[in-house]
């Protein structure tokens, strides 16, 4: 890292700084490949694995001159909402280190909030950027599916995963997004679309906007303080001249089930490669090849990962595929259609990011309770839409609250502008934890 920093200084002295990211120290979630750095996915399975290649986002950040250091902790294989599933250790929330930073990109949000990096990258499959951003009081963006290359991202759920930036401000997030976004020929799911200069677009006068409030997102389970902060934010937009409308996303109640069928199915297949034969943990106790598979994977994977692999295998298995996986894909189309219908009336949606603020480490032991942390974020991944969380307040006990804005496909410039409008009128993003 120091070498990278020195090279950057040299460029700057020579008047050849590469742009706003040159010399900026950034940490990457330990699921993003950087040549010569560990790529553990916070799992014992890959504890000894060092990546021989760069993810595309890594290449682009290097080209921009960023100094890449630090592998950031996360839930094992990005499966979780608290970073407690890391095989190595949990991460503490800088605002209260006895509490979780959120997950799965908890390390990315915590490091940023603690001032250990100027910006970080995480990945978001069901909310894993936005939820930790909310819990740590920082900005976190999940791009439209296909905007940012997944080449070099340890795959969890291929049709849901996206890499995105964490930053202190919307502008910083725009800068990082601009550096990593864009078509990649190594990722067949990446989209060919011109990438605007997100940062300069922030300055352009946009709005006022029509903002939708999905009525299904404000029901049972929402912490009252978070509900109140969200309402205040809505009132702010209204005061700026935005039209606020209630909309309905009628298939919201199916989002969790649909997600946990599709994501686990894809994960069960994506994680099949971890068998200790070519790389990663290989059990020393195996008698034969079948035993090698069983032991290596039993030893290498944590409980939540095993749970999801089992569930995913089940929903794909003969006799159950039609009832579960196929059906879930059909419901997914309906979920996406809900959003697109809403966008006939409004430009973007406002919701809370997380139904609860940061909870105590060890507090939520029931996996299903942890799944419920994602109820506001998960539909966005199923629909492939962009979503951003910005800090919008604190609970009485001083825990950050996040506001989620959901945008239209490939309309990140507009989404960032809407978020920026809020940030310009508030100072939440200027607060830092006492560490």
């Amino acid at each position: 890292a120091l070498g990278q920093a020195a090279a950057s200084d040299a460029r700057r002295t020579a008047g050849q700084a590469r742009g706003p990211l040159d010399g900026i120290p950034m940490g990457l979630k330990d699921v993003i490949a950087v040549t010569g750095q560990p790529l553990t996915a916070s799992s014992k399975m890959l504890a000894n694995f060092v990546s021989p290649y760069d993810a595309t986002v890594t290449t682009r950040l290097k080209q921009a001159g960023a100094v890449l250091w630090g592998r950031l902790n996360c839930d094992e294989f990005a499966m979780g909402s608290s970073t407690e599933n890391s095989a190595f250790h949990p991460t503490g929330n800088p605002w209260d280190t006895t509490r979780v930073p959120g997950g799965s990109s908890g390390g990315s949000s915590a490091a940023l909030a603690a001032g250990e990096a100027i910006a970080t990258l995480g990945s978001d499959t069901g909310g894993s950027i936005r939820q930790p951003a909310a819990l740590c009081g920082v900005v976190g963006l999940k791009p439209t599916y296909g905007l940012v290359s997944r080449y070099g991202l340890v795959a969890f759920a291929s049709s849901l995963d996206q890499i995105g930036p964490f930053a202190r401000t919307v502008e910083d997030a725009a800068i990082v997004l601009g550096a990593i976004a864009g078509h990649d020929e190594r990722d067949s799911t990446s989209f060919k679309t011109p990438i605007p200069d997100y940062r300069s677009q922030l300055g352009a006068k946009r709005g006022p906007w029509k903002l939708g409030i999905p009525k299904e997102y404000f029901g049972e389970g929402l912490d009252p303080e978070i509900g109140a902060a969200t309402q205040k934010a809505i009132a702010f937009y209204e005061a700026q001249g935005c039209e606020i409308r209630e909309v309905s996303l009628p298939h919201t109640q199916y989002c969790l089930d649909t997600y946990y069928i599709i994501a686990t199915a894809e994960a069960s297949s994506n994680l099949a490669r971890y068998d200790g034969i070519r790389y990663g943990h290989r059990s020393k106790n195996a008698k034969d090849i079948v035993d090698l598979y069983y032991q290596s994977r039993a030893e290498g994977f944590g409980a939540e990962v095993k749970r999801r692999i089992i569930l995913g295998t089940y929903v794909l298995s003969s006799g159950y595929y039609d009832a579960f996986y196929l059906r879930a894909q059909k419901v997914r189309t309906l979920i996406r259609q809900d959003f697109l219908n809403a966008y006939k009336e409004v430009d973007a949606l406002i919701t809370p990011t997380s139904p609860v603020p940061a909870f105590k480490i060890g507090e939520k032991t029931d996996p299903l309770a942890l799944y419920l942390c994602d109820i506001y974020t998960i539909g966005v991944n199923l629909a492939g839409l962009p979503g951003i969380s910005v800090p919008c307040g604190f609970t009485k006990s001083g825990l950050p609250i996040g506001l989620q804005l959901i945008g239209q496909p490939f309309q990140e410039a507009n989404l960032l502008a809407i978020a920026n409008e809020y940030e310009r009128g508030h100072e939440w993003h200027l607060k830092t934890p006492n560490l």
Partner: protein, 485 residues
């Protein structure tokens, strides 16, 4: 009760492309182990597949050659199973929307004699799809080694209908399919290099029954001969079982070509649930009319079609066409020569190529492309013989030298004094009269209308002329004399 066999073949053909099907790493055989790899081949964390267009071109072309319907849209599915030769523990393949449907392979069964064309049949295909090949395992005494050089090579899986009935048909199917793939430049189909692999599905049933019997899958059929032998063996095994009152178990058996025996590998109970689902990393492929047309224009004439055309267009006998058509290069060479010689000389040209050229190439272990003898050489030689300038024996000698040096036949004949001596007309007539007089039987037959009886006189005439008499003149003279008798 009479039983019949029902056979279906699943043939895997490696497509000859520069790089692998889902990543830009070179394909190849015989390289240092694990050198033709990259993160995608090895299934490293974070690797993603990218479709190889040349592989798609090849399979579409194969489909067009075999008369398949090319699906307007096809997709990619993951076939999930654990095995050390499979880097991701899933294989990217095509499940329910393959790129080619239907089609057929024309086969020729052995004729009643070597020079009689056997029966032709069309064996219908079910489908052809594209998938990635797996690595290669080497089993030692206490451990196994895996080489991923082969992993990710594009592979076509060609599935026939269960429409064959004998081991001979299976053999004919494979030789025809193989030839077609080589013709189309799609694969070299070298079975020793694993470029063509075949599994057979065999069942038996009483003649007249439409329901299929229990099928047995036969694997490890490493050569086209082993396919035939293995199938024959399996049919015999099943019939024997039934005869003894047993039932056929649905299973996979491993055939040992060396011993001619098979043994069970696994039964139906252990069959895999592959949990197929669409691969979320790859987009479906749309093949439009323009793409198909472009590839159709590149499709060569098929071997059997060419053979039929040679018989009709050039009046060639069946056996000669069999030698000429199965190597596309040779067939083209033949037609180039005929273009120069004229269609009337096609048989002579064909004979020179089939006999002398192939013999010389074989002896010298030279590929046709490197032969110094080019179509013009052969055309010249044929013309010289036709004109009587050189006799056939001399022409054979000239050919050998022509092959070695590339010199023109006329020049060689001149240089080596191989030109036919001019025959004294009077001497010739005397030899002819003598020959006719010595063979009253042949004379009677000829007079009775049997034209080929004239050949009986030619031997003695040529002997008298010490082999140097011009055959054309001999024939003319004999006919003139015979006509007046």
């Amino acid at each position: 009760m009479n039983y019949e066999a029902v056979i279906g073949l699943e043939v895997h053909v490696q497509v000859k492309t520069n790089s692998k099907v889902f990543t830009r790493v070179a394909t190849g055989y015989g390289h240092e182990p694990n050198t033709l790899t990259d993160p995608v081949v090895l299934g490293l964390p974070g690797a993603l597949p990218v479709m190889n267009k040349a592989a798609l071109d090849a399979i579409i072309k194969a489909g067009l050659l075999l008369g398949c319907e090319i699906a307007p849209v096809c997709k990619w599915d993951r076939k999930n199973y654990f095995y050390p030769d499979s880097p991701k523990n899933y294989q990217i393949s095509q499940y329910d929307q393959p790129i080619c449907l239907g089609g057929a392979v024309e086969i020729e069964l052995p004729g009643s004699a070597r020079n009689v064309m056997g029966e032709h049949k069309k064996i219908p295909l079910t489908r052809i799809h594209l998938e990635e090949d797996v690595g290669k395992l080497n089993h030692g005494a206490t451990d196994s080694l895996v080489d991923y050089n082969r992993a990710g090579t594009p592979l076509m899986e060609i599935v026939s209908d269960p429409a064959m009935q004998t081991a001979e048909e299976a053999y004919a199917y494979l030789t025809s399919l193989r030839a077609t793939m080589i013709y189309g430049g799609i694969s070299d189909c070298d079975m020793e290099k694993g470029q063509l692999r075949c599994d057979a599905n065999i069942s038996v049933r009483p003649v007249g029954q439409t329901k299929l019997g229990t099928k047995v899958e036969l694997k490890n059929l490493n050569s086209i001969s082993f396919v035939r032998d293995g199938i024959a063996h399996e049919i015999k095994r099943q019939l024997g079982l039934i005869e003894r009152g047993g039932t056929i178990l649905q299973e996979t058996r491993d055939y040992d070509g060396m011993t001619g025996t098979s043994q069970s590998l696994r039964t139906k109970e252990e069959a895999h649930d592959y949990r197929y689902f669409p691969d979320p990393d790859l987009m479906p492929v749309t093949v439009d009319a323009e793409w198909k047309q472009r590839l159709q224009a590149e499709c060569p004439e098929l071997p059997f079609d060419k053979q039929r055309r040679f018989v009709e267009q050039y009046q060639l006998p069946y056996t000669l066409t069999s030698v000429l058509v199965w190597d596309r290069g040779l067939a083209d060479y033949f037609e180039e020569t005929v273009k120069i010689s004229g269609a009337g000389k096609a048989q002579a040209v064909g004979n020179w190529i089939a006999n002398d050229l192939l013999r010389e190439l074989g002896n010298a272990r030279l590929p046709l492309a490197e032969s110094k003898v080019r179509p013009a050489h052969i055309a010249d030689l044929v013309a010289l013989v036709e004109a009587g300038t050189v006799l056939t024996n001399a022409a054979r000698e000239i050919f050998v030298e022509m092959f070695a040096t590339g010199d023109k036949p006329g020049a060689i004949a001149e240089r080596r004094g191989l030109k036919a001596a001019p025959t004294d007309a009077g001497e010739l007539e005397q030899w002819c009269r003598d020959a006719i007089a010595a063979n009253a039987k042949a004379l009677a037959e000829f007079k009775a209308g049997k034209d080929s009886a004239i050949n009986a006189f030619k031997g003695p005439v040529m002997k008298a002329g010490k082999g140097k008499a011009n055959p054309k003149l001999v024939d003319e003279t004999l006919r003139r004399l015979l006509a007046s008798m």
